[in-house]
Subunit: 450 residues, 2 copies
Amino acid sequence: MDEKLIDRTIEEIRIALESGNFEQAINALVRLHPADRAQAFSDLDNKDQAALLPGMDIPVAADLLEELEDDEAADVAITLSTELLADVLDEMEPDEAADVLGDIPPARAAEALAEMEDAEEVIPLLSYPDETAGGLMTTSYITIQPSLNASEAIDYLRQIGTDVETPYYLYVVDDEGDLVGIVGLRNLIIAQPEALVQSFMDRDVIATNAIEDQEEVARLMSRYDLTVMPVIDDRGILLGVITHDDLVDVIEAEATEDIYRLANVPDSDLSINSSVRTSVRRRLPWLFLNSITALFAAWVISNYENLFQQVALLAVFQSVVTGMGGNAATQSLAMIVRALALGEISGRATLRPLIKQVAIGIIQGIAVGVVVGLGAYLWKGNAYLGLIISLALAANIVIAAVVGTLVPLALRALNQDPALASSVLVTAVTDSGGFAIFLGLATIFLPRLT
Amino acid sequence: MDEKLIDRTIEEIRIALESGNFEQAINALVRLHPADRAQAFSDLDNKDQAALLPGMDIPVAADLLEELEDDEAADVAITLSTELLADVLDEMEPDEAADVLGDIPPARAAEALAEMEDAEEVIPLLSYPDETAGGLMTTSYITIQPSLNASEAIDYLRQIGTDVETPYYLYVVDDEGDLVGIVGLRNLIIAQPEALVQSFMDRDVIATNAIEDQEEVARLMSRYDLTVMPVIDDRGILLGVITHDDLVDVIEAEATEDIYRLANVPDSDLSINSSVRTSVRRRLPWLFLNSITALFAAWVISNYENLFQQVALLAVFQSVVTGMGGNAATQSLAMIVRALALGEISGRATLRPLIKQVAIGIIQGIAVGVVVGLGAYLWKGNAYLGLIISLALAANIVIAAVVGTLVPLALRALNQDPALASSVLVTAVTDSGGFAIFLGLATIFLPRLT
């Protein structure tokens, strides 16, 4: 993508808008590739966006809304008149139109639906939650009957034109609407003209139920290398298809969710473009949650308060023990969370990764313990100080490996997101545990430290 | 995917292997969907894998190697005789065969290439680094000339059979091999039989250079919703195409890389299945790097060592200040790294996210500072202690927002991976800075604390 071209276009649009020349601004926008227009459009103020959109051709406006992020699309869609909004929604892919309708106030959505010509394509999509197969699917696909022959199927394709989102597969449905097979265009073209569709269709269809979670859908599509996934109901009736661009979006959204949750940002809809108010409202509760675990760790330390009056050095090194435990735990946590997300850990095989992570923890604990303990001894000249740092580090890094592995596995076993809350729980253990071990050891060795 | 079916099959294979019945074991494996066979096969010992593979039909073995992770495929491939390996490689998709050849010892690869029939399809792919467009592309695609008509193009398709990885697009190349257009099968079918390919081909081709980084390729394919991306050289000559399954793999690999790097696991090839030795070798250096920053923070504390003899309470609360700074920094860091990965921050617009994150930091800093400071005051009954905790927390959380935002942006500006080293650098600042601010404030207020 040519960032410079986009940046220049944004400048051009800004200048045109300052002199009130909307037409020139729209022309500049339209010269970009459709996929790039959204980036330039997003960069404008809401006021300018609302001023430009009604001046665009309907197909251009529809393309633009499809490319924008869902919340941005909804924000600008509600500025349109109901009539214009209905026309634009008619022109959009049904799944994208349904997303907009789901994100604007219900009253506006109802008005727009009443005005739409193709409302019946969109209405079935509105009933599924966003993060399910039904929420991802589109109704823009081609069905044929199994009793057609190849030549009739090709004639049918010629009739219905090119305006379909999934043009390379034909879905074969029987009279009841049951999905019975799939035909790729490649096979249709090389089939004998008089061969029946049912004789060369692929009957080994991988389909998903409309209420399946989007993460599982993405896993299936990626596992079986599918560009399109048909969606059926409990009776096997074809309801829609999920296209590969949705697969990519889901994979990216799920990765964002994991990265965010490991970093105590609980809401994956949050982005650097979210308002300060929204960001604080979502992020602050998790900082408060972390405060509680931090204060609990402080309470652990306070039980050893009189130690510091005798050996102030302990205050210098206690955080090394907890910090290194946290780092080691984060390593295990990230690897387990990622393995769970990619489906690399199956139900029966949770013991093996645990044993491996503990073995890694033992080796890393001993290595870090010896090196850092020796460093502390050389620095402060107190062998017993070095010894308790070594022991505490080794113990805490082993604990870190255990909890960093067990917590996400346990959350998954409880049907919770393994990434959510993992780092809070793990930090609580490595912090409080680390302080208790280090200061407890110091109490035992106190006569040698003073 | 039916995990239970896979688990049952693994059991069946194990039992068959115990009684030395290789044929039964292979039959059980082959009853699974090709995409599921790899999971069952991976679960076997290397010895059993090596025993089973030569007994499989060549196409089954080829499918299996395609589905295995690259390193696993290479490990089992080298157990084959050179002749059998060459046959299997001939049957594989050229890009997957090239991956195997790149991962086995060069001498074995040269022997296998010499025996292969289709070596000329694979050899051009061997010269590109794994993580470039050239490293991802396959040579299995269909080219046609612009001067053919639609009917001739369809006849040509009938001739060449179905064994092509990218069957839904035809690449139009001129006599020099330049990519001049693309024709989707949908448009070919509905074109008039005598219409020339050049009259209905899509000339607005988005292609990528063979040396382009895979992350950028994935961004382009995802931005323009491409299922296939042609790869050209500097002169515009078509070299290969990248298919959507590679896009999915790259997106997942890049997300893994970011999650790992934020967690101080520098090597995204590492997985929970990696050996303990490899895991420790890759992870331990980053723990040692973290040790250095932890010891630096300890040195900062050691400058205030005599404080603790007078006010032991400081040792109780100092980690709260640094811990909360670390948590706040991690939130900003994750959001900026993710925004950079998804291309949401363009070159010119780095000031806006910085200002936003700082604003969020100020609000969160004040909120956490007031609440936790008040809590400490109520707990320990010392108002000045509460005050310095409040001030230090607020200051450290603001610093956290600034460095959590600036460090990844700066790394990107220096053409470094924004995720790598970010958390080490950021932790170093929030730890050392947090201790210095808290203990510095305590020094100032010392008379009020004792």
